[in-house]
């Protein structure tokens, strides 16, 4: 019996040659083996035909480079093939179901892309005179109105660039509000069921983080929270729906208690997809919540494009929101409120988080998504996302332990543990096994409150047929893990790379290519390329 380390990787996996189905090229039919670009291109060649360059007196003093730059020279065709081959080894939402929990990997409608590429949005510059970009400013303003309406809040800061940036924006608003009240509150309470970025944001903004435990059913322990409130508590950061896939049904009571104690409520809205159009966070007493346009409102995600994390604010926090923002005036024109005009129009702002007005490309896509779905369509998004997650939860809870299956329906994601697998088998083996079945793995080992977590979020994108195939695949892998199938321990077998030695990769990472060592007396590659 081969000795396994905890991650399942075996030393002989690197040896090669043992696999009798190996091909001469290393290619497997349409799956082409691809080396690094430095290993294909020679530094002796170049992909472009320059006239020989005569270099005059260097203009940069002693910063002039006189040794070879060492870049591989590939033709256009070779370069295109290289990246196309690599892209075929990737997994994407356009290929299949992407079950990454807490991350809402949904279909990106092509209409969004068409609108984002309209020259009036795509080819403008943030420093262009404002009277020449009224349409773009109108889009920012219109999207802001949608976000305020959907959340029942008072205002929105559009500039934050992603979820954690939005968290920071909300926490800075809370800090500014406390300073305006002349109070020095240093503690932010973060429940165990919150997103991992929440405590990091709180600490980064200078607060001390204290945990609030979860109840056995996976929700915030309201009594423990109440007991901790006091004059040193600035507020609470809650993820709702939380990372156990559950709706925090005590949210209103939590907000009331925090407000009564003089604190503010920050809600992590990364999971807004489950409640959009159904629940307005403003009605639950939330003071600030970021919305990931790149999750809920379907702008490219997962290798696609940048994020965008607008923050909706309550009446108490809205005066402190950041500049710049697009304001609409009585004559129908739009103007950015910047430092020059903030004194008159937005005097309590905590300042600026970004150079410009936010992620314009995300704004156009998100507004397109909203307008093409309509208010009723967005409501159906939430309903179908929750229905799909519950279908997965109830279709698999006989083979995988669902720790909070008894806590009622889940929201947008289904949570399982690795309790009950055969001795020596864990979540990692199921995640690797599902790669062989042609899926990206689910989120694993998070949240930390359960053993060997597997968090699955199908989103509303998937049809019943797609879900049934995924459920069948996961059921089959789970059963193999329960029966202790040794082949699963070294999965994936059909991926471009087999089980990797994750331990060695983490302990001794090699993050950049370096020239292989050459025998003494032979010129190195870069020396050869210097002529």
């Amino acid at each position: 019996m081969t000795a396994l380390n905890a991650s399942g990787w075996r030393p002989e996996m690197n040896a090669g040659g043992a696999d009798d189905s190996a091909t001469f090229t290393g290619n497997r039919a349409l799956m082409l083996e691809e080396p690094l670009i430095f290993e294909i291109g020679s530094t002796e060649t170049t992909g472009v035909d320059f006239d020989s360059v005569v270099i005059g007196r260097p203009q940069v003093g002693n910063l002039y480079r006189d040794d070879p730059i060492g870049l591989p020279g590939l033709s256009e065709g070779e370069t295109v093939r290289h990246y196309t081959r690599l892209s075929r080894q990737n997994y994407a939402i356009d290929l299949g179901l992407f079950p990454l929990g807490s991350c809402t990997m949904k279909h990106n409608p092509r209409l969004n892309e068409k609108v984002a590429r309209m020259p009036g949005f795509a080819d403008i510059h943030p420093l262009q005179p404002q009277e020449t970009v009224q349409g773009a400013l109108a889009v920012i303003n219109e999207l802001a109105i949608w976000l305020i309406k959907l959340t029942g809040m008072h205002g929105v800061a559009m500039t934050p660039k992603a979820g954690a940036h939005g968290e920071l924006c909300g926490i800075l608003c809370i800090k500014a509000a406390l300073e305006a009240r002349g109070e020095d509150r240093r503690v932010l309470l973060v429940p165990e069921s919150a997103h991992g970025t929440n405590p990091a944001t709180a600490a980064f903004a200078g607060f001390r983080v204290e945990d609030i435990p979860a109840t056995p059913e996976g929700r915030v322990d309201l009594e423990a929270l109440k007991a901790r409130l006091g004059p040193d508590v600035a507020g609470v950061m809650i993820t709702n729906p939380n990372t156990c896939g559950l709706f925090e049904r005590d949210m209103k009571a939590i907000s009331d208690a925090v407000h009564a104690a003089g604190g503010y409520v920050y809600c992590d809205g990364a999971n807004f997809n489950a409640i959009v159009g159904k629940v307005r966070p403003g009605d639950l007493g939330v003071d600030a919540m970021h919305i990931n346009l790149h999750k809920t409102f379907s702008t490219p995600h997962g290798g696609g494009g940048p994020g965008s994390g607008p923050v909706v604010l309550s009446e108490a926090l809205a005066p402190f929101g950041p500049i710049p923002y697009a304001a609409r005036y009585a004559d129908g024109s739009f103007k950015l409120v910047e430092e020059e005009s903030a004194g008159a129009e937005h005097p309590d702002t905590f300042g600026r988080m970004t150079a410009f007005h936010g992620q314009m490309g995300m704004f156009t896509r998100a507004l397109t998504y909203m307008l093409s779905h309509g208010a009723d369509g967005l409501k159906q998004v939430a309903e179908d996302a929750v229905l799909n997650a519950n279908y997965i939860l109830r279709s698999l809870d006989d083979v995988l332990e669902a720790p909070f299956g008894g806590s009622g329906p889940c929201m947008h994601e289904a949570l399982f543990t690795d309790n009950g697998l055969a001795e020596g088998f864990s979540t990692l083996d199921i995640a690797k096994g599902i790669i062989d079945e042609g899926y990206h793995p689910m989120t694993v080992y998070f949240p930390l409150v359960v053993h060997g977590a597997m968090l699955i979020e199908p989103t509303e994108t998937e049809s019943k047929a797609v879900l049934d195939q995924f459920i069948g695949a996961l059921r089959s892998v789970a059963l193999r893990a329960k029966q202790g199938d040794p082949a699963l321990k070294s999965a994936p077998h059909f991926a471009p790379r087999a089980r990797l030695d994750e331990t060695r990769a983490a302990r001794n990472p090699i993050l950049s290519w370096s020239e292989p060592a050459v025998a003494p007396g032979e010129p190195s590659l870069s020396e050869l390329g210097g002529s």
């Binding site: 380390n5 905890a6 991650s7 990692l428 694993v444 080992y445 930390l448 994750e502 983490a506 302990r507």
Partner: protein
């Protein structure tokens, strides 16, 4: 030399006025392959239950808590070079730090080996 255990899976060996602290074999088994350890600086003041060290495995990063109040006298520098010691010898060479004991009576509330084993069996 008596050894005590916490519910957070730290062990503490007491030798006179100095104690040695690490994580238990059960803890390393749950964490999986350890890839990084951050031990506290000498002179750091620790309070019982507060953050003392960080341990990162292929699965997760976790805090190691101070089992009692005291001041760090030495961190195990070897773990920086060779974090795998925590997997191979968690309750020996894989110790995390040594500390003084400000209040020895805090030890009374910790578990002995028998009680800790029963505690783990219940998890």
């Amino acid at each position: 030399m008596p050894r005590y255990y916490t519910e957070e899976h730290e062990w503490i060996d007491v030798d006179g006025d100095v104690a040695t602290v690490g994580i238990t074999d059960f803890a390393q088994g749950q964490l999986g392959d350890i890839v990084f350890v951050e031990v506290p600086d000498t002179g750091a003041e620790l309070s019982q239950g507060g953050d003392a060290a960080v341990v990162e495995s292929v699965k997760a990063a976790s805090d190691v808590y101070a089992p009692v109040d005291g001041v760090v006298t030495e961190g195990n520098g070897q773990l920086e070079e060779d974090p795998a010691l925590v997997n191979s010898d968690p309750e020996g060479e894989g110790w995390f730090f040594r500390m003084t004991l400000s209040d020895k009576s805090q030890l009374d509330a910790l578990m002995n080996a028998t009680a800790y084993k029963a505690f783990c069996d219940d998890l």
